[in-house]
Every structure is written in C-alpha cells, then in structure tokens.
Subunit: 237 residues, 2 copies
C-alpha cells in the first residue's frame, strides 16, 4: 500500500503523460521548438523532472534533442512515415502469427465481438463514420498484439509505434472505399487466427498493413500537392 490512491506521485510521469497528450493532440505542433521553462510551467513541475520527462519522450522518438539548442517535436517526413509502416508490417505480422498460436478461446471470442460491432457501425452509420477516430480499428489491432503474449511486441507497438503514427492523424486516409476493404481484411485475419493457422494469420496481416500503407502514402502525397497536409508545418526559428 505504498501509493495511497493518486496515479503518479511522481512529477516526471505526470509530465510525460501531459507532454505526450499535448504532442498527439496537436497542442504542440510537429517541428515546434520547445523551451524547457515554458514546458515546465505547462506541466506544473520544475525543470529537473521536466528534463527527465523529455529524455523519456526522446527515447520514444516523439521529440528530438539538439545539444545546447533545445528540444523540438519530431517531424516525420513522408519517407519516415513509410519506413515506419514497413516496421509495423513486420511487427504486427509476427504478432498475428503468435496470436494464432497463443490466444485463448475467450480472447478470440472478444476479437470476433470487436469485428461484429465494427460491421454493425458501418451498416448503421454509413461508411464514413467508422474510422473517424480510429479507436475501433485500434482495438482490433491492439487485441491481436496482446494476444501474441510477447511483452516486447506489445510495448514496441502499443507504446512507441502507435504514438508515432498518430502524430500524422492518419485515419483520414482510411475514410471511403478503404473502410469496406479494411473490414474484409480484418475478417480474413480473424478467420486465420480462429483456425489457428499462423502462416495465414501473418500473411493476411501483412497484406492488410501493406495495403493500408500504400493507400496512406498515396493519399499523403496527393494532400501534399494540394496543401492539405496536416503535419503541422511550424517555423523552425
């Protein structure tokens, strides 16, 4: 009973959470240069804990540090983003394989439930509304990752990689025709996991992510031309 009730007694953890939210929500824009004092004030902590929080976020690649100059929110180029999705394909592919081997029956049932509520929302509210926040999509993928029973995979994906991807608010590109195709691909993945077929589970997941990636990159390159790109372009100085 060391920690009475409060979530984090520790200022550093509070600062990490606060900063992460600020970055992912866009409150701190990508590429923005950050002053320690301002951030400390924003988080309500001193500069010491704040610096530790920044080191933590640096490890998750959410910010970059330049000695004697300051920290800035990581700004991903389209190329960075594509390479990141390649890593995601590999990791979620193996996660899906492991999930097909390790998931319990209860977990597969929950996964199926995730799919059906998914399909229901499409039929009820139309196609566009499903992916607006991406939570449903995330749930499906997260459940599979957890089913892999691999703590490294879970941390790498859920904590590090997903956060980085969210910096681009990439759901937008999934709206439209991809939603239906995406659902079908999800069903194929689930089917393979339910059948306990690791090879197919991995293949289907990789196919799904590769499709999604190609779609996203194409969309982003188009957006870039029309100036619709929303990866906050901030002045560097």
């Amino acid at each position: 009973m060391s920690h009475p009730l409060r979530r984090s007694h520790v200022h550093v953890d509070a600062a990490v959470e606060r900063l992460e939210r600020a970055i992912l929500s866009g409150e701190l824009r990508a590429g923005a240069r950050l002053s320690e004092q301002a951030l400390a004030k924003m988080c309500g902590v001193g500069r010491g804990p704040l610096r530790e929080a920044v080191r933590t976020l640096e490890g998750r690649r959410l910010v970059e540090r330049v000695p004697f100059s300051g920290v800035r929110v990581t700004q991903l180029s389209i190329d960075d983003f594509q390479q990141l999705l390649v890593v995601r394909e590999a990791l979620e592919g193996i996660a899906s394989r492991q999930a097909a081997e390790c998931m319990t029956l209860a977990e597969t049932r929950e996964l199926r439930q995730c799919l059906t509520t998914f399909a229901k929302r499409i039929k009820k509210d139309g196609i566009g509304s499903v992916y607006v926040d991406g939570t449903q999509d995330n749930d499906f993928h997260v459940q599979i990752v957890r089913g892999s029973r691999n703590k490294w995979l879970e941390q790498l994906l859920c904590r590090d990689l997903y956060a980085l991807l969210r910096m681009y608010r990439y759901q937008s590109a999934t709206i439209g025709g991809r939603a239906v195709q995406s659902l079908q691909e999800h069903e194929a993945i689930f089917s393979a996991i339910e059948k306990r077929d690791p090879d197919e589970a991995e293949r289907m997941m990789r196919l799904h992510i590769a499709h999604s990636r190609d779609n996203l990159i194409a969309q982003m390159k188009k957006d870039l031309g029309t100036g619709k790109g929303n990866a906050g372009r901030a002045r560097t100085r």
Copy 2:
C-alpha cells in the same frame, strides 16, 4: 565549431555510454540494484545528469525503475529472451527484404567480403575461434540492416535490440556445429540479396534467426540445469 574536440561535452551522454558499457561488460550485473550516488560517482557526474542518463537507459530497456526504490539492471528470463528473438526474427527478416531491394553494388560487394574473411578464419583457426566474440557475425547482420535504408529498423536493431541480447553473452551457444551451419545460412542470405530476390532474402534470414534461436534456447535451458547459466543472478534484497 561549437564543440572543440571532446566527444561529448554533455555529461548525460558520457554517463549513458559509461553505464551501457558497464552493463554490457558485466561490471554491473543483471538484477543488481543501483544507487544513484554510487553511479554518479562512478560516472563522474552529478545526480541530475545521472538521473537523465538512467531515464535514457530505461527507454532502451537496459534498466528498470521502481519509484522510490531505485533502479536495477534488467534481468531477462529465458522466456523474455526467446520473445526478444522472435522480435528479432521479424525485424531482421524485413530488413533483409529491404536490403535486397535497396543495397548498392558497393554494399553487396562489401557484404561478400565480410563472408569470405569469415570463411577464411574458419579454415585457418578452426571452427571454435570464429564466434568467440561475435563481432564478425554482428558485422554481417549490421551491414544488412544498414542496407535496408530504414532508420527505424537500424535504430531498433543496432541500438536497442542488440544491446539487450548482448546482456546474455549468447555467443557461447554458437560455438561448435552451429558455426558451419550458420556460415552456410549466411551464404544463402547473401545469395538471395545479390540476386535481388526480396522474398527469398527475408525467408532465409528468418530461417537463420529461427534456427539460431532454437539452438540458443535449448543451450540455455541445458546450462540452467547444470548451473552454468551466466546471466548474473543477484540477490534482490
């Protein structure tokens, strides 16, 4: 000309390097509980920079932090180790695939050179001597990872994952019959990359790592029985 000559003007970076060396060399044993003051003295820095260094290493999973209790060097169970090698299979597999697509001719030539000097050393000094330090083996894998032209893969593998694996001084298990087989597998990987065959490059790399993994785990489980296990077993309290 901001930084005259010295490597890292910054105490934190120096402390990170010093601590990482200490952990990987075994100077700080796995599971050992660490006092900030002692570490600060050891690195020749104050407690402030040291704490930031510890946060950095925590991000790389080399140490674990328990609030108000201290930090301890990460102690990997055999299960952790196996799961880590599953992640490695996925990441190096995709790296090998990308390398087959992206490597320049100069790089493939260098890779071949790495293989030939490899084979020479086996013929000259016998089988056992090749893998004693594992540098040759590392070179081969590192060159492929760099050839993937993917900065996330490179950082994840070369900076984070390899360091974690080295905590177990796992080379020992590669001595003996595996050395020859390992060389043959390397040649198969190289051949696929040279042929610019991504599918086969990935398949061969994954096969290689899976073989190596099964061999290592078997060896470790055997060592555990005979008390030869060398993952420093330190008292927790």
